[in-house]
Symmetry: C2
Subunit: 421 residues, 2 copies
């Protein structure tokens, strides 16, 4: 009975009649596992128990909703439920991202339903669209803003020009950041969601450890200014891409990092604590899903949708689609992953500097899309925007630039997403 | 084998292996009904037949995909398929909007799957989210831009300042409007989709005849200018709303008309042939779904998702959710439907005119939100923006204004949607 559980209980109580009609049979709340059962939680006391395992094991329980959070306890409860043929609805992205294999296999073995719409992007339907609506299409890319805390902070930085630290404090004060914000600001939460999205999009098992991850704690007010100067903003993106190399060999790249996004891109205008996910597929083209990605009520909405579907299946028979990992595409190392870059340098304004810099890019086949030089003398600023190049080619270029005998100081390297090649 | 059918056949051929893996069994194309079988359509000739009924009746056909369009022929084919226990996937919004009861009952009676994601907003998943993801929530409003032709025309008018006729011609030239554009520009297509959306959102049977409908053919360049002057644009909206009267009695209002939408509203920036649907629900809050609403490939994407789900159900057992009409809320007459209005008048600039106009509004309890007067003398312009009021109260006010003894000419009345009260 945290934020989400409390809302789920409220909906079960307030909309019992609607739920009965939609399922075809009453949805009865059998019990609620809580840490302390002696607190008045506004529900009949006999529903509360501190023995979650016993509740899950009860014969009169058909469906288990897990909104505890954490790893070990929910994992054992979920496995126990699935192994006794019960359906499970969970919002636990961290658990799914780490143990998707074990949990999905238990669901498969027991022909039980495992639903987890609430694990990614709160109320926004994105799990079901990827698993079902796009089941006949070929998804090439999923790009999302899937963490409300970081999006709130980056939006505040873009709007006010404030530093990261100031904006983080403001987010904490308004309840958008937790006391220990690490999971959010360092991108762990987004990486878990990226792993889930990539698994669904590419029919490949992807865990959080497969996701390259950088958080937003190093984004500066200056980066935000740079972004604005080139018609962009900075967003923490979860990127899941199908990469086809020159031999036609497919792999997938899954990564989370802050990147420049052009203001004309639909994700650029997703502000504050909102989430959005863009899906690009062969036949469908570009789709976008937008809404509230967190909070008790929105997450409960997703849980309840899953609960109704699981209940219908219990009543009428049938089962939702299970895990699909037949493609098992290899995960491309971050070094092989192509993207575009915005490289911000301080250079000495002398003859030959631009040519020298350009030569270092071209030597590593990092093709330059645009160059801008500002100022003069030793404080001149040179900005290079590249075409798509691999992370390793760019890293080598940056290392080489620092060793040039005319002075080049690379001030920042920002990735640029959401544009053409 | 029109636009959509050709793409469906292409995907079935090019992605046969993926589809087999996703369904759990091969998806085999048994035959294609065409009007003329003697044309080379790039598929094995033996798959083609002009006898659609015989194809649907074949014992080795499990699933029928209907992308013919029209009413009578698809209706009899779909009923024949369902009555022999076959699953049906259709993109036919006009048919569903008119005969949803008959078709849904046949599906229910035979425990057959009836899927129609492609009938609303092309590739954008909106049917499945409403039926499944939001099955545990309470939907209060669905507002969509669900017709690409009219959105293309209105976007062009907003962008170029051109008249309706010029923009319609341009849309025709670019392939966005059909030779006879009536179904699109007069809102019939949007009304069919609104009926389907309202049925799903409110668990009530709604047919196209229940939808109040105005098209865009009377929208003028001047309306567009007026919109722009007040920070709005004009969009053809499909609106499905739950209306609760002062006694707490619920009804629903389903209507399609051009309306002012503030530029800050997410639907305002949906331009060209794109579609978007905003759903507001108790727990989920506001969600938006965006993408390509028409065209062969996007529509085929939606058809294929349904086809994979229907095939999985055939193979594993189970069935997607059927029609849900338990709520059967009454449909509010348009006269009782509240919305906001932007009333544009030419008035004589004499003492007492403003007071007289204001009195007519207040006499019918149409509360005024803002007033703006421009110019002087007999050509003065008076713009009144109201709070929410019923259509009939507004109509009576307009009629009364025309009978005032000081001169008032009501130049235009535009509805205003997507704002607070």
């Amino acid at each position: 009975m945290g934020n989400v559980g409390t809302e789920v209980v409220r909906i079960l109580r307030d909309h019992a009649d609607d739920l009965r009609q939609r399922v075809g049979a009453p949805v009865v709340l059998r019990g609620i596992a809580v840490r302390r059962a002696d607190i008045d939680r506004g529900v009949p006391q006999e529903l509360l128990t501190t023995d979650a395992a016993a509740l899950v094991a009860r014969d009169d329980v058909d469906i288990v909703v897990e909104v505890i959070g954490g790893i070990d306890q929910p994992k054992s409860l979920i496995l126990a439920a699935l192994n006794s043929g019960k359906s499970v609805v969970t919002a636990n992205k961290a658990l799914l991202a780490d143990y998707t294999g074990e949990i999905a296999e238990a669901a498969e073995r027991n022909r039980a339903d495992l639903y987890f719409e609430a694990a990614v992007a709160g109320a926004i339907p994105v799990v079901r669209p990827l698993m079902q609506s796009l089941a006949g299409d070929r998804v090439n890319r999923v790009v999302g803003i899937v963490n409300g805390t970081t999006n709130f902070i980056l939006s505040a930085m873009a709007e006010t020009g404030a530093d990261y630290d100031v904006s983080l404090k403001e987010a904490g004060r308004l309840g958008y950041a937790e006391a220990d914000p690490t999971a959010d600001v360092e991108g762990y939460d987004a990486a878990a969601k990226a792993a889930i999205l990539a698994s669904l999009a590419f029919h490949t098992r992807v865990t959080a450890a497969d996701v390259y991850r950088e958080g937003i704690s190093k984004v500066t007010a200056e980066d935000m200014e740079t972004a604005s100067a080139v018609g962009c903003t900075v967003k923490l993106l979860a990127l899941c891409e199908r990469v086809v190399d020159s031999d036609g060999k497919e792999s997938i790249s899954v990564r989370v990092y802050p990147a420049l996004v052009p203001l004309t891109h639909p994700l650029a205008s997703v502000n504050g604590a909102f989430n959005a996910v863009v899906v690009e597929a062969d036949a469908a083209g570009r789709l976008m899903f937008y809404g509230q990605g967190a909070g008790g009520a929105p997450t409960a909405s997703a849980v309840m949708g899953d609960l109704v579907m699981a209940a219908r299946n219990k009543f009428y028979g049938g089962r939702g689609p299970g895990e699909s990992t037949y493609a098992m595409l290899p995960i491309a190392p971050i070094g092989d992953t192509p993207t575009r870059y915005h490289v911000n340098m301080q250079v000495a304004d002398r003859p030959g500097v631009l040519a020298g810099v350009a030569a270092e890019f071209s030597r590593r086949e990092v093709s330059i899309s645009a160059v801008r030089q500002e100022g003069a003398g030793d404080g001149a600023r040179l900005v290079v925007v590249t075409h798509r190049a691999t992370e390793s080619a760019l890293a080598e270029t940056v290392a080489a630039l620092s060793e040039l005998d005319f002075e080049v100081v690379v001030k920042s390297v920002l990735r640029l997403e959401g544009t053409a090649e």
